[in-house]
Symmetry: C2
Subunit: 493 residues, 2 copies
């Protein structure tokens, strides 16, 4: 199965594309730029959704659903929103097909032209704030804490499975508050929820930071983000949380009666993560044998494979396998027994390596005699014999899954640390960017001009101003002008 998967060291990009397809995660569809998320890939996304949804609800949010279509005029209402956004999008102009007169198929009925074109939502601030206008009258209606799980469309020219597709799945939170302070706290809270999710479930260490004005969401006063480091030394923005100020409230005239008897515009936030996280998950941990999944997001955590020649052996092994399965399931571990007789063990081993199943148990006739099983870890490919009488099997497996989860995280964390370099001169900047990659921690003079110039020269962008950065006087790595602290530059997905 995994034979022929390209090596990361030779062609990282090809490795990624092939892995996504061969591990049955996703594939390109016949519709330009749109992907098909295959059952195995979707089951990982479902696990992500379930955890995120739980975290959103625990922080007081509820789900709702808003229209797919946005009237074209809405986009113009928030000036910087339309400027920075939504130019490349799918436009619905007609609402009917009819049979071609020559019988060649169907054509668009020219009579069924919409008075105002509809845009397939690239994001939903405009349609949601136009709705909030009716939902919010008084401070008693606030805060309004709503999330939606939805598909969105941005007409990307160069697409890549999960990382950049014309249609993708995401969640978008849209909240409304009575004060700037409360909205800013929400913005921070949701960035922290994303960071916690990435680190705890995806085993993906992230830098929490603030976007520069250049990289800010169009229509936001402030954008917080989490940034992750991929194995090829490129950064990936894994989630953003925006403080919208009163911008959308003003654009859609959303005012509320304050506790003090006044009338004021509402303060807003929005925040989202998407199926892009699938790309991050794959690129952060996987290896030349295939996917490596953190146990907390693995649809199958343990696979059991029988090794046998004779039918009696198979029956005896199956009995033992079923015993073990029952024990594991009781402990909430998801386990599969692959008893197909159409494939050899070696084939199955490769298949589950490709699919990133964290633990593989093999049972042969000698194991039955000895009361042992062989347990193989996917993350470090180590194998060990386990004596079934030595410890309850569910306890052992639970320990190992925890160990794998932590170990994957540590590995990614150490890699990220290694790939974060303090650079103090322009020469050093260029040298490290070209030969090593990763995050470049460097002083910057705070101007968009310098940021643009560096991007133009090197393709590196400021990923974020880390929230945890220390105040430190220095000089901009490019202009030499004074700076108050370091920011993270990187080439990015």
């Amino acid at each position: 199965m995994s034979k022929g998967l390209p090596k990361r060291s030779e062609d990282y990009s090809l490795w990624y594309n092939e892995l996504v397809k061969r591990a049955d995660l996703a594939e390109n569809s016949a519709v330009r730029g749109c992907m098909v998320i295959k059952p195995y890939g979707y089951s990982i996304w479902e696990k992500m959704q379930a955890e995120l949804d739980r975290m959103f609800k625990e922080t007081g949010h509820t789900n709702a659903y808003f229209p797919l279509f946005i009237p074209k005029s809405y986009l113009s209402k928030e000036a910087s929103h339309v400027e920075g956004f939504a130019k490349e999008c799918a436009v619905v102009t007609h609402y009917r097909l009819k049979n071609a007169e020559d019988g060649s198929g169907v054509i668009v009925d020219p009579e069924a032209k919409l008075e105002e074109e509809l845009i397939v939502r690239p994001t939903s601030e405009t349609v949601i704030w136009s709705t909030y206008k009716n939902w919010i009258q008084s401070y008693r209606d606030l805060p309004l804490l709503v999330n939606q799980w939805a598909n969105v469309v941005r007409w990307e020219m160069r697409t890549r499975l999960f990382l950049r597709t014309a249609e993708f799945l995401w969640q978008e939170g849209h909240t409304a508050h009575a004060s700037a302070k409360e909205a800013m706290e929400e913005t921070e809270q949701m960035m922290n929820v994303y960071a916690q999710f990435a680190e705890e479930f995806m085993a993906l260490p992230v830098v929490r930071g603030r976007k520069t004005e250049n990289e800010r969401f169009a229509g936001a006063d402030d954008t917080l983000c989490i940034e992750a480091m991929m194995q090829d030394g490129k950064a990936l923005q894994a989630g953003t949380s925006h403080f919208l100020g009163q911008n959308f409230a003003k654009a859609f005239d959303v005012k509320f009666a304050t506790k003090e008897g006044g009338l004021d515009y509402v303060w807003g936030t929005s925040w989202g993560v998407s199926t892009r996280l699938m790309g991050a998950l794959i690129m952060a941990h996987s290896d030349d044998n295939g996917l490596v999944l953190p146990p907390k997001l693995a649809p199958i955590q343990v696979v059991i494979i029988p090794i046998y020649r004779k039918d009696e052996e198979f029956e005896a092994i199956s009995e033992k396998a079923k015993e073990i399965m029952a024990e594991l399931r009781k402990a909430g571990i998801s386990v599969k027994y692959d008893n197909r007789d159409t494939h050899k063990p070696g084939f199955k081993f490769a298949e589950y390596e490709l699919k990133g199943v964290p633990l593989r148990i093999a049972i042969g006739p000698r194991d039955l005699e000895n009361g042992t099983i062989e347990i193989a870890r996917r993350d470090n490919l180590s194998k060990s014999q386990f004596e079934l009488s030595s410890q309850p099997i569910a306890e052992k497996i639970t320990e190992m899954l925890d160990e794998i989860q932590n170990s994957i995280y540590s590995k990614a964390f150490n890699f990220r640390e290694e790939m974060t370099t303090e650079v103090n001169s322009w020469e050093e900047f260029k040298e490290v960017l070209e030969n090593k990659g990763g995050f470049l921690s460097a002083h910057w003079d705070g101007t968009s001009e310098t940021e643009d110039k560096i991007k133009e020269l090197t393709k590196a962008t400021i990923r974020c101003i880390p929230l945890a950065r220390k105040e430190e006087d220095g000089n901009c790595v490019f202009t030499g002008k004074p700076s108050k602290g370091r920011v993270y530059f990187a080439k990015a997905y």
Copy 2:
């Protein structure tokens, strides 16, 4: 709150519309024909989704995701599909906006015209079967049992919240099989899953039946359905399951190597339920005070309301309320304590009646003294005193919730039985249809001509040929021609 909700007996249609809005279930959006599903409405839909999704998975299905857009040419590939379907749909013709030169906003960029128009999916058979072509080579790849949760768009001219909207949410299952027999079994299985869900969770009795050729899904060889009866005597199709034969396999050239070494087209099914079920749920059970929710789908199953004058009373009651809440939550019951001091108990009572919360517990100072609470049932509006020492509270509430679930079902079942009338002459048919409504169980000669004629004259359609009907010789209620059994006619949503 519920003051002013129109009465069902006076204007059923207005009652429904107002109820949907006032109970915070959904509202019309600024986008023609599209609805906003509000948080409370969406939380009911989420409960439906969770149960259905579990049932799909228990019957071996997995979820996946396919593109929102369908190339126009795909629709023409299955002849009867395009004929019977998909004429009224949203058509994407362009992929970019640009600033108007006069600065008036954004306009569609005429240069960004798609070579082939894209249709926003009205259903996904075509795009999915074009994908299955690559997924299926051999009988080993079968059966393929896939479901997707998605939004779809059908450009309806006359829309109604939940019942008929341009965009709606649904699930669509698409399966592929090696034999006609297996595909037909799947078609039946999924109809039964829908029926079980409707009856067990929605407390909605349904008739399982087969559609006539006229009413069949475009592209199917057979359509099974579940039909429910609403309180105004109109029927509502609550779910359909289609046997597609080899139609889509032929249209998209999906062949497989058979076990016997041959090559054959794959057999298909598709099946779906949508947010329309929300409409059915509302219309089947609710009353002039508002929503009546079956406990198994109620986002809040129990609400506790304190009745007090003085602050000390409130504190003592709150302590008791929290004790009860903890007990109920431990038993998996969802409970809310409404301790708002901005609203009077009477206001709260009306609000939770409007929202259909199955049980309301009121606690006053005298209750504290006596060790009692007042429990009110939403479905029959009965109230009773409960002595807390007489039985563990969680046990009592669990019993009552079960009782309500059963009682709502029985009420709907009895109503449906009452509203099902055997008619044996054309006069009787017209008389019952006009004055009583409901299902008319009548003989029919089996021809589309008669079916069309009856529809034209009375607006009644054949809802289904009940699967449980008995063979019975008779004469068509309209033409007098011979018939082998009765079918169900009704006016329908």
